[in-house]
Homo-oligomer: 351 residues x 4
């Protein structure tokens, strides 16, 4: 039985507690939060859980095997580092860390101690993403031409990160999981209207092939849109995550080229066939994720949402920030996730 | 009565003929096309119209006052130049010309001869655009934060221009008409999958203020989307042009900032009120446009879709092409539509 | 070459003329309408067509093989009867006639003279209906449980018939074509708000089996709805005719009963699988219908929308009227379409 | 502080417990259910609540003021009767009782003892229904022409009641609340496919005026629909309860009659104006309902969803059953909710 200690009991914390408690082989033994009111409610519904205001009471507890860090990103590194030093496995909210240097340091620390890190990219465990992964894997779409996501709504405004850090981690982690090719560069454009942070941004991701990915993220949209288009050589897919039924539609549509002899001789025709909406599993993604973490710890496996996944997402977010600051400059991410000794040396102990 | 000669009777030509014939004060007297089959059909339905295969029979006809050029863009300049030299007013398809130098030359020629040029940016005459223009003009949305358009579908592949030249002229002309601020720079990213021309592209338009515009154009989408979001300080607007009813929805939603003392003290709240879908006029846009042209000629007025409008669209398209060729480089368009004597001098007679 | 004379050139007439002219083996030689203005337009676009104001000039013309009757229903019987007497085949708008007695008389007249009657139930020739017919025929849905149609919009108010006679003929003819079981009774409820004619009505159709059909027709709906649900033992189908794409969706959903030993022991489970939207052909229905009529005449075949089909629709409409007048009384239609000599005798010559 | 005892802790019971506990002036002190497993979970989350398997331990408890009956309808009468005899106020699930005689008996019992009964027609407390009530009350729609509801989905199959008793109580209670006119008769048609209970039914409700209401309820629909159209003389309203935003749309559309001199002279025109989607409050309906009940008890007020409301719904359900058994016979409900001494005398003590 893995004993879990949770640090941070705000918006997402209750879901973490509930799902680890529903997971065979895991139970939550302690929760830490600075808000006394929040903890009072937990005391009523879960009197068996130890409550505290000081994270060291979780990080140093001898009866805790896993620390779940459910705080703002700025606190992730120190909490995770301390947890690892105290020989705890770490489950940490996305984005993994505030810098890729922090992420690399945590990876090195965990690997040396043979401990597991899981970054909470919950979307990878949804029925929708698992189904798309399976469809692409089976070649249903053919070669992927583009990945185009729109993730816009009114708020939630965060004060400490811009809209890219708030919304794009979902898209980066999903794209990375689905697309079997490493991006080489990113450019991003944004604009700020309410405070200094960008509240609307457009990100383009470039690949060695002609594949292209694009993300539109926006905190100022009157309507909530969560739509991803994936265009393939054979078929095309639309994933609309704000509707209850038929979230994923696969179109047997495409372009057929008969003749490539010359631009003006090009015979292009369009294929328009059936649409198919496969059933999407409704199992709670977070529960599957908790189970996967327990399974990885018990059987020494690597989580699909491991620290390298988290690192790559942070690298892409950093590239976005550089590009945003430099008028959309193309920022190379060729060394994406390549870890070297020298890289670790760059980590500032003061981070 | 303005006598109209039409050059080009392909996909769009019949609409031009029909609508000029429905316009008080105008009638089509001649149509030129190289395709004999097409002309035969016209001979049956409109036996009063003179048919020919040689454009000079339209361009030089003494009984013709207006030449409507409904050909691919590569032919626009020479036909329009000749028409103007023969003292005809010119109605020309969008995009206006293949280069801004051509556009500037036509403008100078027309102005010297006191002739009118109208570029067929039909969308400006739709009930939807006219209504949005009115709403923005009355301050209904407040200051505009962003303009975000998605214009994607499967095909129509053109062989001689990329997806930006095919689809974005609509967006550029509409944005220019609605937004009362001149853009200063553009960057564009695209990718080609079927032939050498970009079949998917993303364009960002930058303004002196924090305003931002973004266009997603795509020939490889399984679904047809024509959605424009316009976010304002007061209200936000969604224009969905593929639905029959309630095309335009105005949301009384927004962000309210109570305190700007510091980033962390910022009190941001969200306002969520009613939605309102004003009735959109259904009058045929092209008919209104033809009437407007006749009115401008008869009363010596400047069309809202005049040659400078066409020129600016071409300038933005050129900026896109430069940016596409230079990995998304930010391309300045500061001198947008500024015409000077020296500028005219730059026009190559060989164009 | 079948020479067609058209009587009535109002809203639908131009479509009839255009499509018969596009049909191999047919051409329109004469059109009759009382409205001179309407005919003038036709004179411009189709100068080869003979125009007249007196129907006898069509009905008695020796060079006419087929009379297409595109008038209000009250005029159908006399025109059709005269056409048949003059040995013309008859193409007639729906509903076939104002009474079933009239329909029976026309059927007898046509059969004696070996002439064809086609009633213009255009929907039977749409890609949607033909596809549903095929799917049901192949057993894709299994036994049909119910047929439920909603056909509502604002207007078009007719002055001489109620909303059932205006809108339900579509549903009756489609249901009759798709459902391989004869209805035995009908009841209908309605209400009038604007004039004495019912402007909203609900019709239930009863079958010998537990199958049930229901039609909601309404002239006072703010939204246009054209949705048909067909529930089957195996699968269920939704046909939404007001959307451009994916009009027909087939749901692999259903109820599975494991145990019928007793009501309280009944184990009912729900199956929820994929959804599938087969491609629907876009060919113009009216053109297919005209071709079918020419084919039936040339090869002595029976149209799928023959006079018996028209008769049954009229019988169902009559049953609705009786039920509406008698507070929803269940009206038997057991003898639906059974024609006997005595039935013919009942036809009043003065009808 | 009103002390609440809850009988029945199945699907809906946890919501009742949670919301009464969130209501100022109320707290749940005891819960009764036959299922030990269910109670165990409650013991963990709410250790302060007394648990039992025998309803008498709630019905007879001296420290309980209110009994909430959250059982199948067949048990409502006996539990409510006993609760009232023990001087408890009663909160009871819909439908109120299995027969109107039972309902009348409970009403008489409660009135004699000066106790309150509230029937859990939760929908009356939703933001949507409260908003529609307000709009109709302010005359926004004008005279109501019709009320048309579609409430269909796949399952939930109940074994002891048909689809009318399962789904229509919502519609009957909402219609009764919104429409300021008493219905006089009902007819219903249905069909059974899975067991002996109707799984699909159509109900028409008749009024003294030309107003008409219609309900389509169906357990065998592949799609979930919750759409109500309310057509008024001035405006028309569509309430779509399965979408998250813009649930209620008000159309400034209608029919205008200029001339009523004769049917054929009738000049009918259509008005098509703006659509307006007012913001719908998102407060939890059940919490508002619990507060309303506490308020009614404390201040001796009559709940909007009182026992007469519950009675009328049961009377309409009974009328549906009679009509279903008699081939759609029109069943009078003229004496709807009229209670007299003699009526009470008819109640069998054995019910």
């Amino acid at each position: 039985m893995l004993r879990v200690g949770v640090i941070g009991y705000g918006y997402w914390g209750p879901n973490i507690v509930r799902n680890f408690n529903l997971t065979d082989g895991a139970c939550v033994v302690a929760v830490c939060d600075k808000n006394e009111e929040t903890l009072k409610k937990l005391a009523v519904t879960n009197p068996e859980i130890r409550l505290c205001n000081d994270s060291s009471q979780v990080l140093e507890a001898v009866d805790i095997d896993v620390v779940a860090i459910v705080t703002p990103v700025s606190a992730h590194y120190k909490l995770a580092k301390t947890a690892l030093k105290n020989r705890k496995h770490v489950f940490v909210e996305k984005p993994f860390t505030a810098t890729s240097a922090q992420a690399l340091d945590l990876i090195e620390t965990a690997e040396k101690a043979n401990l597991k890190i899981m970054v909470d990219h919950t979307f990878l465990f949804t029925g929708a993403v698992r189904l798309i992964k399976k469809l692409i894997g089976e070649g249903e779409l053919g070669d992927i031409y583009y990945y185009d996501s729109i993730r816009v709504n009114l708020g939630l405004f965060q004060h400490d990160v811009n809209v890219v850090w708030d919304l794009a981690p979902h898209d980066f982690s999903i794209m990375r999981y689905l697309i079997n090719e490493r991006p080489v560069a990113i450019n991003a454009w944004g604009s700020s209207h309410i405070n200094k942070m960008e509240d609307i941004a457009y990100v383009t991701v470039h690949f060695p092939s002609s594949k292209i990915a694009h993300f539109s993220v926006n905190w100022l949209s009157p309507v909530k849109v969560r739509t991803t288009l994936i265009g393939g050589e054979k078929k095309m897919l639309v994933w609309n995550d704000v509707i209850a039924d038929d979230k994923i539609k696969i179109y047997d549509k495409g372009v057929e080229v008969q003749n490539r002899q010359g631009i003006y001789d090009l015979l292009v025709s369009y294929r328009s066939g059936d649409m198919w909406a496969p059933k999407v599993e409704q199992t709670e993604a977070l529960l599957l994720e908790c189970r996967h973490f327990v399974d990885c710890i018990e059987n020494n496996l690597t989580p699909i949402n491991n620290a390298y996944c988290g690192l790559e997402v942070v690298q892409m977010l950093e590239a976005c920030d550089i590009s945003l600051r430099n008028k959309g400059e193309l920022v190379s991410i060729e060394n994406l996730s390549l870890t070297s000794s020298s890289a670790f040396g760059a980590v500032d102990e003061e981070i």
